[in-house]
């Protein structure tokens, strides 16, 4: 599947060998095994504590004589200690071996990683296929000044390359090189130049906390707590509390995760794309290059409407598709909570050209997408008869086609606006259930790469849906043909002069490979 990964390292480096891209094999930081295996220590601790607790409990319950008891205790402890020691030694040996066997290499246009003790694995990623680069610092790594570098290339399932751990400095240098190489920038210096960053805004802590307080999870939690309090007072029984506790804990952990992810959220722009920094315990710096965003969603839960807050998420190939992986569930988050202006600004960073005609400003169109109804802003909306199926939301179901993107609008209570560039449309489809059929309605769906966004517009008139389906496939084709090169800094000058770098460049899409393999 992942040909880029399987390819042998037979490519000759194009540019002058730079420090970051020396083509030599490197090891990751020697502290890596310690940081990686802290879980082993944690497990050991838990085990010991449990063991201790169990023996203590036995002591409480058992009615054997005291001497025998202490002997038993001692034997238990000795056994537990021995097991713990063996586990510790084994774990450390494995971690050390795993470190010894892990090495990586950077060339001008690929990143290679070899790892695995028993079964060796080698993975090579072509940098022009790079989708995003993240630097992640879990708490422990941060204490030691280390960081993990994650390179996303879009392959089916798990296609990313993770280098853990590097020093912060190494990670940054490497990221700069990867981005420069992916962008098609050639540099003569020792190190890849760091793209200048321009901080656009950060999410204030108060707003983050406010947004979490105004979330449905919080409301649910409050309702349950109130209900519990009432039931305790009325029935004088505490059993309900135990019954609801797991769910409440789950809700609490959701809130905590959102808080720790959104903490200190900063959005910056750079020629390399959007830079996001966030995280309380685990700090994450994400770089999403231009043109890698497959779909954008701006949405506003009902409770945020008074405050005028919006949330922005994106689909980036490589980020999605592993919803089970807790580490990456929030990877597509572009703005946890922001004002309407900020949300629109973020939208314009990732999709600079909304393709609205010259006579029109994009403002009203986006506004109509965010809060408009029916035909406002040139949207094509659901016909009135759709209210039989969708009594509340029907008036906001709609779409708008511009020359570069499709805007899909939905939700009266929970407002949503999805924007999908034509060049990123994978395929599209129309579905129709029996009720819709009777009413002459059909739903249109765009298929985007895996991620939080599934762009759909429900209950369109069948004729409108038919035409949209017909035209969207054609538009996607045309837009893709006209899209810029994969290496975003190699954008040709407005004049059709031959590019200066001569033979270095390949066509935007080399014929032998497609975006994902």
């Amino acid at each position: 599947m992942n040909r880029a990964v399987n390819q042998a390292a037979d490519q000759v480096p194009l540019g002058p060998p730079a420090a970051a891209a020396d083509g030599q094999w490197h090891r990751v930081h020697p502290l890596t095994p310690a940081i990686r295996s802290w879980q082993i220590f944690a497990v050991l601790l838990v085990y010991l504590a449990q063991d201790f607790g169990q023996t203590a409990l036995r002591g409480d319950v058992g009615d054997s004589p005291a001497g025998q008891l202490s002997k038993l205790n001692g034997r238990w402890l000795a056994g537990g200690g021995l097991v713990a020691l063996v586990v510790l030694v084994l774990g450390l040996t494995l971690a050390y071996l795993s470190w010894r066997m892990t090495r990586y290499r950077v060339t001008a246009d690929a990143l290679e990683l070899q790892h695995g003790v028993l079964s060796r694995r080698q993975r090579q990623a072509r940098l022009d296929r790079l989708q995003a680069v993240d630097i992640v610092q879990p708490l422990l790594a941060r204490i030691f000044g280390l960081a993990r570098l994650t390179l996303e290339v879009a392959g089916g399932g798990d296609s990313r390359i993770e280098l853990s751990y590097l020093t912060e400095r190494q990670a940054q240098r490497l990221r700069n090189h990867l981005l420069a190489a992916a962008a098609g920038v050639r540099y003569e210096t020792e190190e890849a130049p760091e793209a200048p960053e321009h901080l656009v805004f950060e999410v204030p802590l108060q707003r983050l906390v406010g947004s979490l307080l105004l979330s449905s999870v919080t409301v649910w939690l409050l309702l349950v707590t109130a209900g519990l309090a009432v039931s305790v007072v009325v029935f004088d029984r505490f059993e309900f509390v135990a019954g609801v506790l797991p769910a409440a804990l789950g809700a609490g952990s959701v809130i905590w995760r959102r808080f720790s992810t959104g903490f200190g959220f900063r959005v910056a722009t750079s020629p390399d794309g959007l830079r996001l920094r966030h995280g309380l315990l685990e700090q994450r710096t994400q770089t999403v290059p231009p043109g890698r965003v497959q779909a954008v969603q701006l949405r506003q839960p009902l409770l945020w409407r008074a405050a005028g807050w919006w949330l922005v998420e994106v689909n980036v190939a490589g980020y999605g598709g592993r919803q089970n992986d807790e580490k990456h569930t929030d990877a597509g988050l572009l703005l946890p909570v922001g004002t309407r202006d900020e949300a629109v600004a973020v939208l314009s960073f990732v999709l600079p050209d909304l393709g609205v005609t010259d006579s029109e400003h994009p403002g009203p169109v986006v506004d109509a997408g965010l809060s408009g109804r029916l035909g406002e802003g040139g949207f094509a909306a659901s016909p009135r008869r759709a209210h039989w199926i969708d009594p509340i939301g029907w008036s906001r179901n709609g779409f708008r086609v511009t020359s570069s993107a499709l805007l899909l609008r939905s939700g009266v209570l929970h407002r949503r606006l999805d924007v999908v560039p034509h060049a990123r449309t994978q395929s599209c489809g129309v579905t129709q259930g029996p009720l819709q059929r009777r009413l002459g309605l059909a739903s249109f769906a765009l298929h985007s790469t895996p991620g939080p966004i599934r762009p759909v517009v429900e209950h369109l008139d069948t004729a409108v849906a038919a035409r949209l389906l017909e035209e969207q496939a054609r538009r996607a084709q045309a837009a893709r043909a006209a899209a810029g090169p994969e290496r975003w800094m190699e954008r040709p000058a407005p004049s059709p002069a031959p590019s200066a770098a001569g033979g270095l460049q390949q066509p935007a899409e080399p014929a032998e490979g497609s975006g994902i393999e």
């Binding site: 497959q294 094509a380 708008r400 994978q426 395929s427 489809g429 895996p450 409108v464 038919a466 975006g515």
Partner: protein
């Protein structure tokens, strides 16, 4: 670009103009009946036998229900299979299915990432295969079951070569 409000009334998304649909083999219905309805019939037979042997007459209506469900399933499967259609157009592949819940998918060849051809043991006995298209989106639900192995191979090669010719990245 204009929006699409001015579509001609009566246009059907599931019947694009100028498309001739390829049907899949009716053997697919047989396979699905074998997999779906035959076990039910076997259960019905077993129930009847038990009813007769143990003279539990109340089991007979249960057996009748099994037979009815099996009959309904095999009727449904026949309708479903006859509703499956696909068409290769110049730039994209159309796949449609469903009678109650209808669905049509348009996959531009340039978006094709890879093509799967699968045939399970029962499929092979009846000589059919399934072709599945994969784009970068997991939501692309474009699979065509019930093709003859030759047609499956032809479609696979045709799709792959068109995909090469009209290749577009992500």
């Amino acid at each position: 670009m204009s929006n699409t409000t001015g579509a001609t009334p009566g246009a059907e998304p599931f019947e694009p103009p100028g498309v001739t649909w390829n049907r899949v083999s009716p053997r697919l219905a047989t396979v699905r009946r074998v997999v779906g309805a035959v076990p039910l019939l076997l259960v019905a037979v077993a129930t009847t036998v038990a009813a007769v042997l143990l003279s539990w007459t109340w089991l007979l209506p249960v057996a009748a229900v099994f037979v009815l469900v099996a009959g309904w399933l095999s009727w449904l499967v026949g309708r479903q299979v006859s509703a499956i259609g696909y068409a290769e157009r110049g730039a994209d592949l159309l796949v449609r299915r469903g009678i109650m819940w209808r669905q049509i998918v348009v996959v531009p060849y340039g978006r094709l990432q890879y093509v799967d051809v699968q045939a399970g043991p029962v499929d092979r006995i009846f000589g059919i295969a399934r072709v599945q298209l994969h784009t970068a989106s997991a939501a692309t639900d474009a699979s065509i079951a019930g093709l003859s192995p030759q047609e499956a191979a032809r479609l696979r090669d045709s799709l792959t070569s068109r995909g090469q010719a009209q290749l577009a990245g992500l």
